[in-house]
């Protein structure tokens, strides 16, 4: 028997050492995220996903009840990764303004690195309110921290959090579609700080500070 060198998607890579069931499930999730991102959620039929996962239609139903279920699983798995990545990237940053700017820029960076995930996240964000809340909980904490530190003058409420988060999302989406230039992440971070009440010069400095490369 020769090596079966299929390219593994991110989920499948993570599941490489798990049992067959988990591996197939991961393959389906990789396929689904690719189709959601490239062809839209509506174009994705169970058949299409199964085909892309190189698996037969009936197999899909062993792992997921229906399309909604896999969409939810994918969305929450991506969100978990995003949270983990941002958490790592921001460990050790205490200043709230720096944290907000860093989160924005890292998120955009991440979306560019995994375009499928970025697009899928963007679509899912408006679809699963719970998902948005999970991810923005961290953002809210930083905004409140900024108020305590005296860096932000804006009053923090759900709506402000939503606005700041959506600016980041829209920026990532714009970059993915080449409608925003390479400095869009920094520019957005700067705008976020300004609207939160950071003085323009300081906002510019923080938003454009050099980010260290991520350790793997």
């Amino acid at each position: 028997m020769d090596v079966n060198l299929v390219e593994l998607g991110p989920f499948a890579s993570d599941a490489r050492n798990l049992n067959k069931s988990a591996r197939t499930r991961a393959k389906l999730m990789d396929a689904a995220v690719g189709i959601f991102a490239r062809e839209g959620f509506e174009a994705a039929s169970v058949n299409r996903i199964a085909q892309a996962a190189d698996v037969v239609n009936g197999t899909f139903y062993l792992h997921f009840k229906d399309k909604d279920e896999i969409a939810g699983a994918v969305a929450f798995a991506i969100a978990a990764q995003v949270v983990r990545r941002l958490d790592d990237a921001m460990a050790g940053i205490d200043d709230a303004a720096e944290r907000v700017a860093c989160a924005t820029r890292r998120f955009v960076e991440f979306a560019l690195e995994r375009p499928d995930w970025g697009l899928a996240f963007f679509r899912a964000n408006w679809f699963f309110p719970q998902l948005r809340r999970d991810v923005t909980a961290y953002l809210r904490a930083d905004l409140e921290r900024g108020v305590k530190q005296g860096a932000f003058t804006a009053t923090i409420n759900d709506h402000v959090v939503d606005i700041v988060a959506s600016m980041t999302l829209v920026t990532a989406f714009g970059r993915l579609r080449n409608e925003a230039g390479p400095t869009a992440g920094e520019d957005t971070a700067e705008m976020q700080l300004r609207l939160l009440g950071v003085p323009p010069k300081r906002a510019h400095r923080i938003a454009h500070a050099k980010l260290p490369p991520l350790k793997l």
Copy 2:
């Protein structure tokens, strides 16, 4: 023969005096926008739209090639209305900061008045890049005017325009889902002015100024 008092949607109302073909077309568009908004674009089948328009399946195809075509027609018709409304509401306002704040608040107001249209516009916005460009062209003009007037210090480019526009959209969407409070429009306008470089106090004053009721 007794009166046939079916509730007419906005498109059908506008087409009341046109010929039958135009009236049926308008009925289909009203039906489509309702379904897009309430059940999502994917749930909308041609059958479902025809049914909601109280018309038989084959009739649909006399008026539109397929679902994409009616979606485009609806989206651009809504965009044209939005532009007209904002244009009316802003006639006579010269100060760029006031114009930006007014546009934001009026847009949110409009979306609340016609929830179906607001939701459909929100979805279509990410789907038809041309649509976004058409609508944001006006916004861009006001942002550039603000720089000329010395009110805005930010440099205006596609990305800034996109960010400001998406803040407005997200606010309307939040209001429509009752996830944002009644002052969200004003709050967003204030944030927009701040990120554009308007001093906080002035931003607050302009964004919360009383808007005159719209004349019909």
